[in-house]
Symmetry: D2
Subunit: 368 residues, 4 copies
């Protein structure tokens, strides 16, 4: 194996995974490590549990042997967490909880470990922290990770295809029992602010009703659709509901709860709530499945492994080429770079009048 | 194709599926139809939606063409329902709901259609009705169906392997995200009176805690187990809970609700309830997945297709051999017959001190 | 359901599937039928077995009921064939085989059936025939289908994701046994002229060697790679080979055979041939798996169902908008139209120096 | 965790996996290790690559941490091989290959390592070696492993359910493409001396023809069956062939090859050979898929994980109870012990007139 000639003075890089886990994280880590070592002769250090690993100097040297066999595995070998933002680190002083900026200490730790640059794999929260480090002079590149696919700077993120595949397979299973038993089946899927999983899985699974955060619904319209089907002899219906779907009245379907353990909002329960309403207005039996974290788990699909691998290789290339402060992104068929600044600024939501929604409507989907 | 010589005066049989659907029903129907036609030159009629089809003369002639391609499909091509017991048929008289015995009318309908015998695929409810018909002189054989595997007269029923496979795959997915994110994952599975799905899926998925109806649990013991793991560096745990699991105190975890639409009890919610308790006593984040009817759905496993096929073939053989009032059953490696009488009398529960539970304990499973 | 206002004088359309089958065909057919009926109030006729159905007036009326439940199914409900080109139709005259142009008769048949326009789903062969019909004045749109993904006019075709997923899952399975048993495993996959399946599946499965038609290989380089791994303690290797992979010497690995039954070239056997060579030069046991038509089969992935649905909806839209002589295509995240003329002119091959190949090399893949 | 009281003077046990790998081996290893440590406070050593590990003192201490997470993984963490029988060990003396009995040295090595007893997981070859060690005074228990399910002493072995599931899923995929394209699809599966995989997978997948070693076939009967289907309008057929299937004429379909690398016979190619014959006599296009080692690979099914776990727990129990020279076995629903002596003496073949074959025939399967 011959190393690429590089002008870079980077010798050792750190990699970490932040925020919720997503299938494909290990594919990215493997690609970063293999590419860094094989292409450029770099050393690689993996920080444990996201930024917490930098703050607490909790890390592992990563060699090719360490990443052997991890490609098909879900999760992340480095661990991850939503907590421990170095720029706003929770500490308890005199029994009171407060937040401190420990980023200088973190940067000190990086220097101690001889780490010249960081590849940060994470969602908008982690990427915002990455950008803060970049502004303080640390060579950083970002790799986008959001299972909800709601990051505007990239066409697709890894993990999304696996999540929607899990949801789509669930709909397939619900179909056979719904049809045999003449029931309404509700499937609650992830998607607080963007309904990409619900929309894609709903189309792939042949759902009859799809409820999105972007297209407020009414129970009446859902029931009308189910009734219309019943009149045509279809004595069952499949409803896919994103956890953040909204009633047209503006009323929240379920109260968001501020949750102490750092997961800012926890919804849940919208499926059960809607199921009861549908049972009441249609008189048909309904059953509810809540996929929950199944959607984050499992072996990544081929698509996600390939995308993760390409992202990992590109991220190291950006670091070596000195393109700091950027994030890798898929644009059409190409993996490119965009500035971190632009990447973290905008949520990508479903266009309620776009081609995908219209295609769904054309094959008979109601959005309630 | 040469027909077997038979002394039987059976020329036309009816088949129906009753109760909740289970993966493999179509394999049974296909085997009944193919075997009846190919082996014995019989005609076959399929009743729609269980016993309702007999009461309302709702049926289809079933030919080989009708059952072509249904082997890999979940659900039942005949439809099914928990309702419409001919011996206790719900009618409304003067606005009041009451029950009538319409079995004589049902038997009249069978005669009108020239049906000489019935193959009834169903759970304990449907098999009890089958036995009533048998006592009234109708040539009947039963084919056991219970996704919960809780029928004592057969070692295994079809559908169970598919259900536990779905649950086991769910645990695999939860494992990767639990481990990456240091969380407690709760998986609520079917099993009101018997914990076979929870026990088998829990062993197959490597669960840390399994909660069964047959082994009352305490929250304290669950939390102690999770804490023990945490002390050993395992910062995550997987808890599988059967919907009918019971607290040692005798207290119901969730109130059973008598449900108007004929599904006698609907539980649900035990996963969420336990999740909150665990979060409180361990201080660890917990997430809950409720598989619900996913467990009934989907393409049957190879195991269930084979067992369903064997059951269907054997049932027709019993009818032709005049062994009425019997049910097919798996005993060891053999498909045999047992009397319907004996079959419907006893629930098969997990032996809390049996080999399977002890094997689970030997590999570290806690039963709370 | 309210119909879109259209100026079109199209009232009835025909749809057919030509060439080899691909997962997602039924998703396209369903979308064409549902969209045509629901959006525009059209009638739809499905021709049986591709163009043969037009020539022999072999067709079915297609209603929403006909396409209900077909979304998750592989294959095509209309049947397909590589034969029966109306512009070059094989007939036997006086015992001799000859070809005739029966396209005028085919057009007459369309008129007889009152069919105003055609949606033709097929590969380059079928699309070329579609273009011929268009030039003769028939309103036609094309929908691209090639499991090999080798059509330059669209970024991706449906069926490809399913095929590479099947191949990638096969590699996952081979990995565990290769590693346990210290063997070289060869997986032969589809790809006569383009190595997209081999390349994508190889990256997704973590293959060590990938052999493509676009990058001629030598046995020596393959064995050197396997030896290099062995020296590093990796006593197993995975080799993915496209059936059309070429030796650097220009020599064909296996002789292409002109096959009488109209499938122009049949390769096969390259896996076995290479396996023997590798066993000889490395002294390691090798085993060969030939996936064959497994890659065409099975339930389409969520990705392919969504893409097929979008293609079907767009095709009907093009017909109604009078954009005849076009083909639907995926460009980036958008489904657009391109002219049939441009679409059938160029094969899309793997760029041996492109980003995807370089990403594979960066993570250690050898291309022999 | 409280240890069971034992009278045993066993303190440290060795475990190894021999012969071809099978899904579920890791489940057994995990159960042996966890059970030994948790139940009885034993130490466990894993030998690398079967008996080779004893001969060369190649081993790892196995703790609970070592077996954490291996339950869902195919293959064996200990490695395996068909070679290196201590009672007939291949050595080269003066350039000539000869065999030596190195079992005394092996026993010496066990003593050096302080190993009091062995749990040997393997097929008939490895179990015969286990029995030899037992006769020389080593406390040994066997755990049966044969993917072909051809061991008479146990109803089922782990790995078999996974292998037939892989084969059955392959038939599902072939079905959709066969039907769409009017082809004959041949699937070659494992089974040299016993056709269990072919028979079970064929029934589960709805094959039309199944060819077994136990029921000699003729090409004429296969073609007659395919023709009969064609006459009924079924323009496709699925043929499943075990690699050891035999022509009625007694002629071998393909020549068995004595293979230098210690794999005693390697068949292969029977699928292609039969495919050509069928194409010739039916005039229909045929395609061949050779699953090969796919059948050994992949994550074990829930069934195999449970069976493997029960076997592992039982094996340790037998060792601790002093029941040396026995093998664990599944009898009906019970895991029991049988003597190694009886276990290795007889091949379990398909009964060509048994219930399973008759059930297959009843649903229309031809055995050629």
């Amino acid at each position: 194996m011959s190393l690429n000639k590089i002008n870079s003075n980077i010798k050792k890089i750190g990699v970490l995974t932040g925020g919720g886990d997503a299938p494909g994280l290990n594919a990215v880590i493997r690609a970063v490590v293999k590419s860094a070592i094989r292409q450029y002769g770099l050393e690689v250090v993996g920080f444990i549990n996201g930024f917490s690993g930098i703050i607490h100097k909790d890390y592992r040297e990563l060699t090719e042997a360490n990443v052997s066999g991890i490609l098909p595995r879900g999760g992340t070998i480095l661990g991850t967490t939503n907590r421990d933002n170095p720029f706003r680190y929770a500490v308890e002083i005199n029994g009171e909880k407060t937040f401190q900026d420990v980023s200088d200490q973190a940067i000190e730790n990086l220097k101690d470990l001889g780490i010249d640059a960081l590849a940060i794999i994470g969602g908008d929260g982690s990427l915002a922290i990455a950008y803060e480090f970049y502004k303080k002079g640390i060579p950083v590149v970002g790799i986008p990770k959001t299972i909800d696919n709601d990051l505007s700077a990239t066409d697709v993120t890894f993990g999304f295809d696996t999540a929607l595949t899990t949801a789509s397979e669930a709909i397939d299973k619900l179909h056979t029992t719904a049809e045999s038993h003449h029931r309404v089946m509700i499937l609650e899927v992830m998607g607080r602010y963007a309904g990409w999983i619900a929309l894609h899985a709903g189309i792939a699974g042949g759902a009859d009703v799809i409820l999105l955060p972007e297209k407020p619904f009414t129970i009446e319209r859902i029931c009308a659709k189910i009734q219309e089907r019943s009149n045509m002899g279809k004595k069952f219906s499949i409803v896919v509901v994103a956890e953040g779907a909204k009633l047209e009245s503006g009323e929240m379907v379920v109260q968001r709860m501020v949750h102490e353990s750092h997961d800012p909002v926890r919804l849940g329960g919208i499926g059960n709530r809607i199921g009861e309403d549908i049972e009441r207005c249609t008189g048909m039996e309904t059953r509810v499945t809540v996929l929950g974290h199944l959607q984050r788990g499992g072996s990544p699909t081929a698509y996600d492994r390939i995308l993760g691998t390409r992202f990992g290789v590109k991220a190291v290339e950006l670091l070596v080429d000195g393109k700091y402060g950027h994030m890798v992104a898929l644009k059409g068929a190409e993996v490119q770079e965009v500035t971190l600044d632009s990447a973290i600024s905008q949520l990508k939501q479903v266009d309620p009048h776009g081609e995908l929604v219209r295609a769904a409507e054309a094959v008979g989907v109601s959005f309630g």
